[in-house]
């Protein structure tokens, strides 16, 4: 695997942003996630890899309680964000999701203008004092989403009229606009071509400066390229979690090795 050029690792220990202990997720009778313990650090890209149906997306959606929208889904265990249990009864998921943003597998811009797409989050959270402030936030977010130069002349154009890669970067800009502390990305590049994928990956690397990014991906190369930490999920279990370099070069668990060498999954 020559293309697995590993990003230079930053091994300096960082503060833990999210800490999950003994997380169990049930879909009705199905036990989808079993005893997952994971520590996600701030200003780090953490990748979740694993075969389809292994629960990595489900676990990701637990981190901002998107699973609340599914009636049959139950979550047990503790997930701490900055030391606070996000499944505490007093936590309002709406407030949580402003802090933990999410980018989805399929680009899903609102069928509104590019400007309104980005401005929506700041508007509902009251982040902008006035119109000029909002304009600033929109520009800053679109710049962070690495799409400003492409759309600055047509902010009134519908977001759905952009190409797939642009749409996904718009969605990232939209997620960034609410100034979250953690950004969850559920296979953000699976619907994109290689060029758009490269742009998004570059973007993820930049986002690492300010956010803690958690990315679910099917592509091991992508995990190797963008992440510092990697977690391997298999059949609802967290099999191995560690430095990306170590996971890909010297996995401890035989199942991890089988997966990254292409024998399972």
């Amino acid at each position: 695997m020559n293309d697995m050029t590993l990003v230079e690792r930053d091994v300096e220990t960082r503060k833990t942003k999210i800490s999950a202990t003994d997380v169990q997720v049930y879909y009705g009778e199905t036990h989808a996630i079993k005893d997952v313990n994971v520590e996600i650090e701030e200003k780090t890209v953490t990748a979740f890899i694993g075969p389809s149906g292994c629960g990595k997306s489900t676990f990701l959606r637990c981190l901002n309680r998107m699973n609340d929208t599914i009636d049959v889904c139950r979550v047990q265990g503790k997930i701490l964000l900055d030391g606070e249990n996000i499944y505490d009864k007093r936590v309002d998921p709406v407030q949580l999701r402003a802090k933990v943003g999410m980018v989805f597998q399929k680009p899903n811009p609102f069928p509104k203008s590019i400007y309104d797409n980005v401005a929506y989050g700041p508007r509902i959270h009251g982040l902008a004092r006035d119109k000029a402030d909002l304009d600033d936030i929109v520009e800053k977010s679109l710049r962070r989403g690495a799409i400003w130069n492409e759309v600055k002349d047509r902010l009134d154009a519908p977001g759905t009229g952009l190409s797939g890669g642009q749409q996904q970067r718009l969605c990232i800009a939209r997620a960034v606009a609410t100034e979250p502390e953690v950004l969850l990305m559920d296979e953000p590049c699976s619907a994109l071509d290689p060029i758009a994928t490269a742009q998004v990956e570059e973007l993820i690397d930049e986002l690492r400066q300010s956010y803690s990014v958690v990315i679910v991906t099917h592509s091991m190369q992508q995990a190797a390229r963008v992440s510092q930490k990697t977690a391997f999920f298999h059949l609802g279990n967290l099999v191995e979690f560690g430095e990306t370099g170590q996971i890909f070069t010297n996995p401890r668990d035989p199942r991890t090795e089988s997966y990254i060498t292409g024998r399972i999954g």
């Binding site: 009636d71 709406v94 989805f104 399929k106 609102f110 929506y120 509902i124």
Partner: protein
């Protein structure tokens, strides 16, 4: 793996034979497909034929109602008959009943016939009988409205009676009146002469569209206008109640309600309600709104309430369908940036579902507009000879009729002239329905968004 790569035994393919000659199985399948297409085309042809027959019948029978036979007479408004005191006191003028006006009309008729030099053996009474019974009323209304004109000679356009009108339209002939006491062959001779002199004319009759219903004796004066207002008031009630209630119920059921046996039961029942015969809603309305709540009988408000009940399931079902068709990714996107569930629904889902909701609502309204059965039960088939209601409240609370009920009333009456009016009324109703459905289609086309 091994059994896939195995070659068929003795080397022969299962698809032997040339590709240029179709095999029997393919021929059979192709024939079946052709037969199916023929059935389909035949079905469509039958449908279209029915439609053509329907439209031509309705137009053929109904168009007659839009023209009416009028007779032009110069009436001398004699002061000694209408205002004996000569004070032009409106109360005194009102004391003169339509009987007091009849002689004036007879005189006018006599003058006209003499003026035109027509010889007739008919008595004056028989001559004047060609006019509609509404002529005296028309004259009286005019005089009350313009008391200053008393003493002058004014030209009026009076309706002729329905037999003369039928004769002009070909519905009544000299053969068909053999046993008819209300018109004689001599009278028709007089009509012929008056037509020749241009005194009797058949023209477009706006009063059929704008006027009120008339009594059994005067089909020539009956119009749809007031029942149209009744239907319109009911539609406002239905729109004002069914749209918000229906949309709120659907949003709750679709987006917020937990999935359990209770919501399942509600769902099944809503679907069943949509199939309940409308007369059931009528008797429910009679029991609840009139007998229990003592709302006025025959009032468009009650009609509107009953039709609201009937329309709600339709609106709820179509609203839920259009909410369901909004892709879940939009909801995820909104929730993902920290919108609350309600914000996600109202800011993103509802605007996307709006064209579907509006279409469903308009179709529900169109259904309600054409509904007759429930109106029969709450008494909205009354004879309403009054003119337009003078306020919104009276429009909702005073007795009124509705278009389909009015059509039913006319079709029920004995005089064939009413039958023609029933068909004419159906044309107006259909124009309304077609307009509403067109609006629904345009709305759907224009606001349908892609995502």
């Amino acid at each position: 793996m091994s059994d896939i790569s195995q070659t068929p035994e003795n080397g022969s393919s299962k698809h032997a034979g040339s590709l240029l000659t179709p095999n029997p199985r393919t021929i059979k399948r192709n024939n079946a497909e052709k037969r199916f297409q023929v059935y389909g085309i035949a079905a469509i042809a039958v449908g279209l034929l029915m439609l053509v027959v329907l439209v031509t019948t309705i137009l053929g029978k109904g168009v007659g109602a839009y023209s009416q036979t009028f007779i032009t007479l110069d009436v001398e408004l004699l002061e000694k008959k209408l205002d004996k005191k000569g004070t032009r006191n409106i109360d005194d003028i009102k004391k003169v009943t339509t009987f007091g006006y009849s002689p004036l009309i007879k005189n006018a008729f006599k003058t006209k016939v003499a003026e035109l030099g027509i010889e007739t053996d008919l008595k004056l009474k028989k001559q004047a009988a060609l006019l509609s019974k509404s002529a005296a009323g028309q004259l009286r209304n005019y005089v009350i409205a313009n008391p200053d004109m008393i003493g002058e000679t004014v030209t009026f356009r009076f309706l002729t009676n329905s037999r003369v009108d039928g004769y002009m339209k070909g519905r009544v002939s000299r053969d068909s009146i053999a046993n008819d006491k209300s018109v004689s062959s001599e009278q028709l001779d007089l009509v012929d002469e008056l037509v020749a002199k241009g005194t009797i004319k058949k023209t477009f009759n706006i009063d059929f569209i704008l006027g009120a219903d008339a009594s059994d004796q005067r089909p020539e004066a009956a119009g749809m206008g007031v029942s149209m207002l009744g239907s319109l008031s009911m539609m406002f009630v239905v729109l004002g109640l069914a749209l918000p209630i229906g949309v709120a119920a659907s949003i709750y059921l679709e987006e917020f309600a937990p999935q359990n046996w209770l919501t399942d039961i509600i769902e099944v029942n809503i679907s069943n309600l949509a199939a309940v015969p409308s007369i059931v809603f009528g008797i429910l309305g009679l029991a609840v709104f009139i007998n229990y709540m003592h709302l006025p009988t025959s009032a468009p408000l009650v009609g509107g309430l009953v039709l609201t009940l009937m329309t709600l399931p339709t609106i709820i079902i179509s609203t839920r369908a259009s909410l369901k068709s909004v892709p879940p990714s939009i909801r995820d996107a909104a929730l993902g940036v920290g919108a609350s569930k309600m914000q996600a629904v109202f800011h993103h889902v509802l605007p996307l579902a709006a064209p579907g909701i509006l279409t469903g609502t308009i179709i529900g309204l169109a259904q309600a507009l054409g509904e007759t059965a429930p109106l029969l039960l709450i008494g909205m088939v009354g004879f309403i000879a009054s003119n337009a209601p003078d306020s919104v409240a009276s429009g909702l609370l005073d007795p009124n009729s509705a278009m389909p009920a009015q059509i039913y009333e006319w079709a029920k009456r004995a005089d064939p002239a009413f039958y023609e009016r029933a068909w004419g009324g159906i044309i107006i109703l259909l124009v309304f329905l077609v307009t509403m459905n067109t609006v629904a289609v345009i709305l759907r086309r224009r606001f349908e968004r892609r995502w």
